[in-house]
C-alpha cells in the first residue's frame, strides 16, 4: 500500500513540470459574471429570482470567448473581466447552444482583447498524456491552476438526443464545472461543463465539440448540432435476437425501436432496422464504434464534428436484407419536440381566460415542480413526457396545452381545485397550441366556452362573464396581460 502511494506522489510531482507556465495562461482565461433571472412557471406573467454567478471562459481566435452554455441559463447581463482585473466589459452572447453545451461570446469594446491571446486548440481525437490543467480566476482575483487526470471519454447527450464527446477528469477542484478551460500541453482540450463534488469528477466537452461550433459559425450563420431523434437499443450480443432477426455471423449493430418522422432519416429509417454501419464505420453490439478515445456510442458518427446539410449513409439490416440508406442531416427544430425538451431561456407562454391559466407542456414546465420533478410532477404529465417519441412516431404534430391552475374568481367557482390537466378541446375543436386556443375562444359566438380535458373533466365558462370580469381579475392578481406576447 505504501509503495503505491509513493509512486503516485512521484507521478504527480513529475507532471507539475509543465511546458508552459501557469502565468502564460493568464492571458487566455477570463472570468465571466453572469446575471440571470429565472422564469416563473407558476406565475408566467412575471419573472423569477435574480442571481449572479462567476464562471470562467477561454479566449479563442477571432476575439471570441468560449464557455459553457449551461452556466449561463436565463442570462440577462453578461460581463467579462480579464487578468483578474476589476474592470468589467459587457459581453454579448453570440451563440448559446444547449444541444452541444457551449456558448460563444463577443465583446463590443475591442480594448478588452488587448493583452489577451487566443488559445490554440488541441488536435482532435487525441489526448497526449493523460494529465491536464484546468484554469480559472477565483473570486479574490487570483489565478488558479488545477491538475486533472483523464479517467474516461464517452458520448453524452443533451436533449433532444444530441451526442457530444464528454471527457471525465478526476480533479481536486471544489468549485467549478462552469466554463473552465482545460489545457493539455498548453493547448485547449475542452471546456468544463459540470463538476460532481462527491466523486470529484469534472465533466469536460471535448475539443471536437468546440471545433464543430467554430466551423459552424464561420459562415456567419449557426445551424447547430444535427438532429437525430430516434429511439434505439443495443443488441448486446443477444444470440436469440440475432438469430430471430437473421443477423449473420460477425454482423453487429443497434436496433431502431422508434422513428419519429421529424428526425433526420425519419423518412428512410424504419422500426426494427438494425444499423450495421454508419459511413463505413462498423457499429458493434453495444452500439459503439472505435475511436482514439476508445469506444464511443454511435451518435458520435452522426453528431460529433458533423454539420446540418451533410449526408449520412448507413448500412441497415431490414427484414433480413442488407440495404443502404442515405439521408441529409436536419437541424434541431424549434420547440422540439411536441413537448419542448429544452426550456432554458424560453419564456413560458400562457393564456388566461376566465381565470383558467393555460400553458404549454414543456420540459421547463415539468422542471418547475422542483428538483425531484420526475417524482413529484403529475403522473399523467410525466407519462406524456416519457412517451413523447412514441407520440411523435405515431404521427402527432401538435404540442400539449395544460391547465396549470385556476385563479379563483366568481366566474370559475367550482373549478378552483383543477390543476395540471391536459386540454383536449375547446368548444369541440381540438386545440393545437396556445395561439390556436386563443383564436377559438376569441372567435366563439356561443354563450358558453366548453373546455374538455384528458380524463373526462369538463369546464364550462360563461363567455360574457369572463370577458366583462377579465379586467378586474387581472387587476386583482396583478397580471399585466391575459396572454404572453407570442414569440413567433
Amino acid at each position: 500500500m505504501k509503495i503505491t502511494l509513493i509512486i503516485a506522489c512521484l507521478a504527480t510531482a513529475l507532471c507539475t513540470y509543465a511546458p508552459l507556465s501557469a502565468e502564460s495562461m493568464e492571458d487566455r482565461v477570463v472570468s465571466i459574471i453572469v446575471t440571470s433571472q429565472k422564469k416563473d412557471y407558476a406565475s408566467p406573467w412575471q419573472n423569477g429570482e435574480i442571481s449572479r454567478s462567476s464562471i470562467a471562459g477561454c479566449v479563442i481566435a477571432g476575439n471570441r470567448i468560449l464557455t459553457s452554455a449551461y452556466s449561463m441559463t436565463d442570462h440577462v447581463l453578461v460581463e467579462v473581466m480579464k487578468k483578474g482585473g476589476p474592470r468589467r466589459y459587457e459581453a454579448e452572447v453570440l451563440v448559446k447552444d444547449y444541444h452541444c453545451g457551449l456558448a460563444l461570446l463577443g465583446v463590443q469594446d475591442a480594448e478588452f482583447f488587448a493583452g489577451l491571446k487566443p488559445a490554440e486548440l488541441a488536435p482532435a481525437w487525441k489526448i497526449s498524456g493523460r494529465s491536464a490543467r484546468v484554469y480559472k480566476w477565483d473570486v479574490m482575483s487570483s489565478f488558479k491552476e488545477y491538475i486533472a487526470e483523464l479517467t474516461k471519454s464517452s458520448i453524452r447527450y443533451y436533449e433532444p438526443n444530441c451526442g457530444v464527446v464528454m471527457h471525465q477528469f478526476s480533479t481536486s477542484m471544489n468549485d467549478g464545472g462552469s466554463g473552465e478551460p482545460v489545457f493539455i500541453d498548453g493547448k485547449l482540450a475542452g471546456i468544463a461543463t459540470g463538476l460532481n463534488n462527491e466523486t470529484k469528477t469534472l465533466y469536460v466537452l471535448g475539443v471536437e465539440v468546440i471545433r464543430r461550433m467554430q466551423k459552424d459559425v464561420a459562415d456567419g450563420r449557426y445551424d447547430g448540432v444535427p438532429f437525430f431523434w430516434v429511439e434505439s437499443m443495443d443488441v448486446q450480443g443477444d444470440v436469440n435476437l440475432r438469430e430471430y432477426f437473421g443477423m449473420g455471423r460477425g454482423e453487429s449493430g443497434v436496433f431502431i425501436t422508434e422513428v419519429p418522422p421529424i428526425s433526420s432519416g425519419g423518412d428512410v429509417l424504419k422500426r426494427n432496422d438494425i444499423i450495421l454501419s454508419i459511413d463505413g464505420r462498423d457499429i458493434d453490439d453495444n452500439g459503439m464504434y472505435d475511436t482514439p478515445y476508445g469506444k464511443l456510442y454511435y451518435h458520435g458518427l452522426i453528431q460529433v464534428g458533423r454539420f446540418v446539410g451533410e449526408t449520412v449513409s448507413m448500412k441497415v439490416l431490414r427484414d433480413r436484407r442488407k440495404i443502404d440508406v442515405r439521408f441529409r442531416l436536419k437541424p434541431v427544430p424549434v420547440d422540439c419536440c411536441l413537448i419542448p425538451l429544452v426550456s432554458h431561456d424560453a419564456v413560458p407562454r400562457y393564456y388566461i381566460f376566465g381565470g383558467l391559466l393555460f400553458q404549454e407542456l414543456t420540459a421547463g414546465y415539468l422542471e418547475s415542480f422542483g428538483r425531484e420533478w420526475r417524482k413529484k410532477a403529475d403522473k399523467r404529465l410525466l407519462y406524456y413526457y416519457d412517451a413523447v417519441k412514441q407520440f411523435s412516431a405515431a404521427g402527432a404534430v401538435d404540442g400539449f396545452v395544460v391547465l396549470n391552475r385556476v385563479l379563483p374568481d366568481p366566474v370559475n367557482r367550482g373549478y378552483q381545485y383543477y390543476n395540471n390537466l391536459i386540454l383536449k378541446s375547446a368548444n369541440g375543436v381540438q386545440v393545437k397550441d396556445l395561439m390556436h386556443l386563443k383564436k377559438i375562444v376569441q372567435g366563439a359566438a356561443s354563450r358558453f366556452i366548453v373546455f374538455e380535458f384528458v380524463g373526462e373533466t369538463t369546464v364550462v365558462i360563461d363567455r360574457n362573464a369572463a370577458r366583462s370580469g377579465e379586467g378586474e381579475l387581472l387587476k386583482t392578481y396583478n397580471i399585466s396581460s391575459p396572454h404572453s406576447v407570442p414569440a413567433r
Binding site: L241, E258, R380, D386, V411, G414
Partner: protein, 488 residues
C-alpha cells in the same frame, strides 16, 4: 392525511402494577371488551412465491350478541393464529374468524372454547352520538397490558377514508378520546352501548381518532347474515360537482335545480346501459342532491355516497337524471366494479404470478407498486400513470388486467434480457395479453423456434429460445427455490 392503524407489536408486553378500579370505570363494559393477539404472515409481492416474516400484534374487540366478537379487519387480517383474552381471566383462548370485511375494516370472531364466554357481557349497539357528546373507548393500547379506558367527545361526523383497504370512504366519527396502537377494534361506548369501533388515528396531528359508526357496523352485520361477506356496492360512475352556474346552465338545468354530473361511467360497474356520461343526477331514491354533492344529514350535510353505502349489493337504486334537457328516472341493481388494476390493499390472498424461462409476470396492483419504498414517488412512472388514470383515460380498455413483466431471474436462457422489468406486456407470440391466463396460453405456441415477448412502450422484442424454456424453468425453480412456476 396519513392514517396509522391502531396496532401494537406485542413482542414485549410490560406489566405495570394494576390500578384499582375507580368508581368511573364501568366494570360491566370491560366484561364485554377483549384483547386479541394475532400472528400473521403476509406475502412478498416482489417475489410472489415467498412469504415475509411473521408478526404478532395486539388489538381489541367487543363481545356482541350470540358469543360473537366484533373487531377490526386489520386486527385479524392475514392471521395464522388468533387468541383472545378477557381482562379477568389469565387464560388465552383460541379464536377463529367467521367473517371479515376489508373495505369497512370489520371482522367477526368466535372463541373456539365456550368456556371463554363465562362471566362476559354482550354489548348492545346505540346510535350515532351527537356532536360534543361524551364517549369512552375501551381497549388494550400500547403502554401497558391491562384494559385502558379513555374519554373524550364526539368531534366530527363525516365521510372519510378507511385506510385498511384504502381508496374507500365511508361514514366515520372523529373523537378526541385518545386512540392509540392497540385500541383498534375496541368498543367506543356511550350510555353503556356501542356507538363505534375505534379503528384509526391521524398521524401528525393531536387528538384525532376515528371510529366506525353503527350504520357501517349494521351494514356489515346485515351483509353477513347469508353466511358470506360481499361488501359495499358502488354506484358505478365517477361524478363531478356542479358548483359553477355556467356549467349548470350549459347543461340545461333550471335555476333551483341541483345535482351532480356523471363524468365517467365505469365499464362493468353496474351503471352502464343505465347512466350516461353527461347525465346530471338530480336525486337518488328521492333524496335531492345539492350542487356540491351533499345531502342533509343530522344537523349538517354529508356527501351523497352515504345513500349508496346504506345499501347492499343487489339492492335497487332509483335515480332521477337530467339527460338532454329531459328528466328521466333510471332504476338498476347496485353492483361492484371489477378493478382492472387493484386500487386496494389486499389481504387473505396470495399474489398471482407465472414464470417462464425466468421471466416473472404479475398483474399490476397497488400491492405490487407498494413494494417500492415511498412508492408514490419511486415506483416506475409509467406504472404509476396506469394505476392512477386507467379508468378516466380508458387505457387499454380491452385488457382485464395489466400484466406486467416484473422481473427476470437470471439464467442462461435469458442472459441477454435481464435488465428489462416493470413494463406492461403487450403480446407474447403475437397473442394479445389481456390477463395472466393469456400468458400461459401464449407460451404454448412459440413463433417458430422462439418465444417473442413485446413490451408496452417499445418495439424492441424480448426473444427466448422455445426449446430452452422447459429446462430453464426446472433449473430456475431449483436454484431460486420456487415451489411452483405459477399461481393463476
Amino acid at each position: 392525511m396519513k392514517m396509522i392503524h391502531g396496532i401494537v407489536v406485542a413482542a414485549m408486553l410490560v406489566l405495570f402494577s394494576p390500578a384499582s378500579p375507580g368508581s368511573e370505570v364501568s366494570a360491566d363494559i370491560s366484561r364485554g371488551t377483549v384483547k386479541i393477539v394475532r400472528t400473521s404472515v403476509r406475502p412478498d409481492y416482489n417475489m410472489p412465491w415467498r412469504m415475509k416474516d411473521q408478526e404478532t400484534t395486539v388489538g381489541s374487540g367487543a363481545i356482541i350478541a350470540k358469543g360473537l366478537i366484533l373487531t377490526n379487519a386489520h386486527v385479524v387480517s392475514d392471521a395464522t393464529y388468533i387468541q383472545v383474552k378477557k381482562e379477568n381471566d389469565p387464560e388465552l383462548y383460541d379464536a377463529e374468524i367467521l367473517y371479515i370485511g376489508h373495505d369497512c375494516d370489520l371482522a367477526i370472531l368466535k372463541a373456539k372454547d365456550p368456556k371463554f364466554y363465562h362471566d362476559t357481557l354482550a354489548l348492545e349497539f346505540g346510535g350515532i352520538p351527537a356532536l360534543r357528546s361524551r364517549v369512552a373507548t375501551y381497549g388494550y393500547p400500547m403502554g401497558g397490558s391491562r384494559i385502558s379506558i379513555t374519554e373524550g367527545v364526539t368531534s366530527r361526523i363525516e365521510i372519510s377514508e378507511y385506510s385498511h383497504c384504502g381508496s374507500v370512504s365511508f361514514l366515520s366519527i372523529q373523537t378526541d378520546a385518545a386512540i392509540n396502537p392497540g385500541n383498534s377494534g375496541g368498543p367506543v361506548i356511550q350510555k353503556n352501548k356501542i356507538v363505534g369501533v375505534a379503528f384509526q388515528a391521524s398521524a401528525n396531528s393531536d387528538n384525532i381518532g376515528y371510529m366506525i359508526p353503527v350504520p357501517v357496523i349494521r351494514h356489515f352485520l346485515e351483509d353477513v347474515r347469508d353466511g358470506r361477506y360481499e361488501g359495499f356496492p358502488t354506484l358505478g360512475v365517477f361524478t363531478e360537482t356542479l358548483e359553477n352556474v355556467s356549467y349548470r346552465r350549459y347543461l340545461g338545468m333550471r335555476d333551483g335545480q341541483t345535482g351532480i354530473l356523471v363524468s365517467v361511467v365505469m365499464p362493468g360497474g353496474g351503471a352502464d346501459r343505465h347512466l350516461m356520461r353527461g347525465d346530471v343526477i338530480l336525486s337518488i331514491d328521492s333524496q335531492k342532491i345539492a350542487n356540491d354533492g351533499t345531502i342533509p344529514f343530522m344537523q349538517g350535510r354529508i356527501f351523497y355516497s352515504y345513500l349508496i353505502d346504506l345499501k347492499q349489493i343487489g339492492d335497487m337504486v332509483s335515480i332521477n337524471v337530467l339527460r338532454k334537457g329531459k328528466t328521466v328516472t333510471v332504476r338498476y341493481p347496485l353492483g361492484t366494479y371489477q378493478f382492472r388494476i387493484s386500487w386496494f390493499n389486499e389481504y387473505e390472498t396470495l399474489p398471482r404470478y407465472c414464470m417462464f424461462g425466468g421471466l416473472v409476470f404479475q398483474p399490476l396492483s397497488k400491492e405490487y407498486l407498494k413494494t417500492w419504498d415511498k412508492w408514490w414517488y419511486n415506483a416506475e412512472r409509467r406504472l404509476l400513470y396506469y394505476y392512477s388514470y386507467y379508468i378516466q383515460d380508458a387505457v387499454f380498455p380491452e385488457r382485464k388486467e395489466f400484466v406486467t413483466l416484473t422481473r427476470v431471474l437470471p439464467d442462461p436462457a435469458n442472459a441477454y434480457i435481464s435488465d428489462v422489468h416493470d413494463r406492461v406486456v403487450d403480446s407474447i407470440n403475437n397473442v394479445k395479453i389481456t390477463c395472466l391466463g393469456d400468458v400461459v396460453k401464449a407460451f404454448r405456441k412459440p413463433l417458430g423456434a422462439f418465444h417473442v415477448i413485446r413490451i408496452d412502450g417499445t418495439s424492441f422484442p424480448l426473444v427466448i429460445k422455445a426449446s430452452e424454456v422447459e429446462a430453464a424453468n426446472r433449473r430456475i425453480m431449483e436454484k431460486y427455490n420456487i415451489p411452483s412456476p405459477m399461481r393463476l
